[in-house]
Every structure is written in C-alpha cells, then in structure tokens.
Amino acid sequence: MKDTENVTGYSGNIVIISNRRDIAANAIFVTAVLMCGIAVQNTYYLQIMTFIGINTLLALGLNMLMGYAGQVSLGHAAFYGIGAYTTAVLSGTFGVSPWAALVCAVAGAVLVAFVVGLPTLRLSGYYLGMGTLGFGMIVNIIFREWSSVTGGSSGFVGIPMLEAGSLSFMDGKNYFFLVWGVVFGAILLCRRILSSRMGRALRSIHDGEKASMAVGVNTHFLKLQIFMFSAALGAVAGFLYAHFVMFISPESFGFMVSVKMVTMVVIGGMASVWGALLGASLLTLLPEMLHGFAEYEMIVFGLILMLVMIFMPQGLTRGLLDIYGHWKKRP
C-alpha cells in the first residue's frame, strides 16, 4: 500500500508539520471555522458551535490521556469544574481580571492533577477508573458543600464577561472566534506533542507499557505529565464555559459529565485529534436533533450510542473512513 506512510503519519523527515495532509486538514479546519463565524448570523447556531468548541477542548484533553497514554479517567469533569470555579470565584468575588484568573485556573488544575495523579496513576484498568471516579465525586461534593465560596447547589452567579482591551466578548460571534481559536491552538499543541519525543513515548505506552518501560521511558512520570496537560485543557474549557454562560453550578461538572467526556472520546475515535472534534460535535448535536422524539428521546439516544459502538468500535473517525473506503472501491 502506497498510502501507508501517509496514514500512519509522522513519517517524513521534516519535523515542523508532519506532512501535507496535516497542513491541508488544518487549513480546511481554519477555513471552515472562519466561514461559520462569518456566515452564521443566528446567535443560536453560534452558541451551539461555541458549545461544540468547549466540548472539543474537553475531549481533546481526555483523548490525549485515554487515546494515547491509555489511561482512563472517569473523573475528568473535576478539572473542568476547577477551571470554571477558580475563574468564577477570582473574577466574580474578588474582582481579579479574568485573564489572570485563567492563569490561576490552569495552574490550580495542574497542581491538583499532580497531587492526585501521583498516587492514582499507579493504579491501572478499572481500578484507575475507580480512583479517578472517586476523585471526581469528592471534588463535586466540595463544589456543592463549600457554599460560602462556590454558592453551593444553587450555583454561582455574577461571573463577568470577558473583555480584552476595548474588545468585548459579549457578542456571540466574538466568543465563537475566541473558543475556536483556543480549540485550534489546542489541536496544534496536541499535534506538536504527539510528533515530539514526548508524544512518541506516550504512544509507546499505549502500544505496550512493559516494553516502553524497558526501553527507558519513565512511564509513570509521563502519564502524570499528560494527566496534568489534559487537566489544563479541561480547566481552559471550564474557564470558557464559565464566562460564556456566566453562571455555574455543581451539576455541570458531575460524574455524568465525566462519563460524557469519555463517551465523546470513544465515539469520536480514540487516539485521533479529529476524533475528539467529531465525538464532541456528535454528542453536542445529537440530543438537539432528537428532541422531536419527546419522551422516547432517551431510548433513541441510548440506541444510537450502542449501535455506533457495536458497528464502529474504532469510533466514528475510523468507521466513517472505512465506509468511505468501501464506497470508493465500489465501481
């Protein structure tokens, strides 16, 4: 197969951008986002796409951890929440500039990820799932019970809108560009990491942790690093969510949101940056498209989830490519 080299990626001897296909994909992505931003006037659609962007960030971070490092986290919504609450409390209660709050939010999430990851990432498989799940639950209970700071179950009101100099993000369009700009940045970042020495080591863990260790990769430290990185992306997503909705409450960061994140990654296709985008889009759009089913919506939604996994266990990215391949082969 002549194609192999391109498909497996990262093959050329030039480091900067892995290959032409990547550049093309990035270009199409940027154009699509720009066109959406310019052409779509309806705030409603812009808002939906903004949510897709935020969810894509979440999925991207978790995908790095799950798809590449092979570590499942069932408590990732905690970092999403930490990002959101940090910026809410700092900018809402203490009047700190949101941008400074963003730095604190990311730093806070990374720090928590470090402390939690140190013991937790020594677990594996379902035990790791359980450990992260417990962590997520504990963080959510703290959001709920520490009501003097977080506003408790009723939620946190009074998060300011983002501003950069004279540019206000009050306008849905500006916010859309902000979020998708961040998403694009995150995609590039993930790409860079994956094509680097660190990323190779990361992928080697996924292929065989034992061998990876034996060739000299400090697997535990690497997992910890990527855990911290995905926590940081989660915190950024939390920041964007908090300032967009300007209201947060603990249930937006609960266990089910963690499961949703995992689902986005798996449905989109693990170990694929574009898979994260696809998974996030599907899980954001699907409920919306199903509202015609009224009370049968849950049934249909569950069914779709099952069917996708049954017939495309590699996720949508791979599955759709396969279908496309079959279709192309047909005379």
Binding site: G125, G302, L305, M306, M309, I310
Partner: protein, 291 residues
C-alpha cells in the same frame, strides 16, 4: 452507644444492598472481564417489576419475586445476545460505552413504561421495627442481610460446586484453554450475564420496600455497587460482598459521626486510600489490568 449501633444497623442494610449489586458486577467481571455500567438499570427494573407484579397486580410475593427476576434475567440475556455479542471483538472500553448506552436506553424505557413518578412498596415483613439495645431495626433489614448472604452463598456454591460454575471459572482464568478443553465460552458469557442481571433484579426487589422506586434510581446504585466491587477486588465474590458492607457502613458512620453533607466524600476518600494501599482491592483476586 446506641447511636453507633443504629448507624451500624442502617449501614449494614444499605451495605447489603450494595453487596448484592457488587456481587452481580463482580460475578460478570470474573467471567467476561467486563464491567456493566447498566447494572444499576437492571436493579431499577427489578424494583419496578415488584411494584408492578406485587403492588399493582397483587400476585403472591414469591411468584412476583421469581417472575421479576426471570424477566430481568431475560432482558440481560437479550442484552448480551443483541449488543455485547454483536459487538464481537470490540475492546473493553468500547464494550463499557455500549453498556453506558444501554443504561440510557433502559432508563428511557423505564420512564416510558412507569412514568416519572416514584413508587412505594410496603415492607415484606411487617411495618414495626424491633428494638435491640435501644436501636431500631426493621424486619426488612434483617431480611435483606439474610437474603444477601443466601444469594452470595448460592453463587459461591454454583461457581465452586457445579460443573457449569467450574467451567465458568475456567473460562475466566483462560478463555482459550477453556475453549480447547471443550467449554463453550460464549455459553458461559451468557450464563454470567443472566446470573448477574438476575442478581441485580433481586437487589432491586430487596431495596424497593426500604426506599422509593423510580425510573432513575439505578444510576446511583450501580455506581455504588461498582465502588463496592472495586474495594473488594474485582472478580472476588466475597470481596465484593465485604466491599458492599464496608461502603454501607462507611457512609452511615460518616453521616452519623462526621458530616452528612460530606458523607459520600468521606466514603470516597477512604476508598481511595484503600486503593492506594492495596491497589487490587482488599481481596485482590486477579489483576484487573485490562480496560
């Protein structure tokens, strides 16, 4: 002192329920290496089944019980056949996501059939609590603990003493070797599913009288059962049982002695500590490396 006793009573009651749920999960894991995230929904189906058959249709309790368990086990069988089997060689995490999808699906079905309102089921054995050293104990609680023990004992007997059970363990230990020695691993998987979901339904029946049953009751119970199974060590039957009781006790004592707002957090912190100290659970049986 009598408060402590009361906490222990209520902890054991809830714990026994968690134990039965964990039992089903652990049992399924030990023969298929799969954690069924829709297990809680089967518990819900069990509770709703007893509501329909016993409370509404007024069938005799024993009949209603067996009918419920049988129906839910059939659902489990269908689930295995139609979803898990069809998925074939999907990886573990993909299978887990299928069970997540199934849990949403089943919850949706529950909502359509039984509506959004909760139901209440009268206790099987009288309303009045017995007083022991100043602490009140419901006959229902005693019933639950005994039933849980009987169920666990039954599964233990099945696995250790019957041919099918032994074959199942063989499958769990080494699928290929079991296949080579003529054990049909697919039959074993479906048997495990049937027993597991049946156990879940039984847990639902037991819990219905002490709490309220609604279509969305399962998720939390399934989650707690999952935790209990992990604490005990996946694949270990009595480990799951002990894990369930421990979780129930921790929650109850945490709520009583420390803070009820943080009771879940207290339980989870302790569970995490257990995991850190004994990464394979208290009764680590086999390692649960795969996900």
């Amino acid at each position: 002192m009598q408060e402590i006793l009361q906490y222990i009573f209520s902890g054991l009651t809830t714990g026994a329920i968690y134990a039965v749920i964990a039992l089903g999960l652990s049992m399924l894991y030990s023969s298929t290496e799969l954690i069924n995230f829709s297990h809680g929904e089967f518990v819900m189906l069990g509770a709703m089944g007893i509501v329909t058959l016993w409370v509404h249709m007024a069938l005799p309790l024993a009949v209603a019980f067996f009918l419920t368990v049988a129906c839910v086990a059939c659902t489990g069988l269908l689930f295995e056949r139609l979803a898990i089997r069809t998925a074939g060689n999907a990886g573990h995490i993909e299978l887990v996501i299928i069970t997540v999808g199934a849990s949403i699906f089943l919850r949706g079905v529950g909502m359509v059939i039984w509506g959004k309102d909760p139901f209440s089921v009268p206790p099987f054995l009288g309303h009045d609590s017995i007083e022991i050293a100043g602490a009140a104990l419901l006959p229902q609680s005693v019933f639950i603990v005994i039933a849980a023990l009987v169920l666990a004992g039954g599964i233990h007997f099945f696995l250790k003493r019957t041919l099918t059970g032994k074959a199942m363990i063989a499958c769990a230990v080494n699928k290929k070797a079991a296949w080579l020695s003529g054990i049909p691993s697919s039959t074993m998987a479906v048997t495990a599913f049937v027993i597991s979901t049946g156990t879940g339904a039984a847990a639902g029946v037991f819990i219905a009288p002490i709490t309220m049953s609604s279509y969305d009751m399962g998720t939390m119970l399934g989650l707690k059962g999952f935790c209990a199974a992990m604490i005990g060590g996946l694949g270990s039957l009595w480990g799951a049982f002990a894990g369930g009781l421990l979780l129930g006790l921790l929650e109850s004592l945490g709520a009583g002695l420390l803070s009820s707002g943080f009771k879940d957090a207290i339980a989870f912190v302790l569970l995490l500590l257990i995991l850190y100290i004994r990464p394979g659970g208290i009764f680590a049986a086999r390692d649960a490396k795969r996900f």
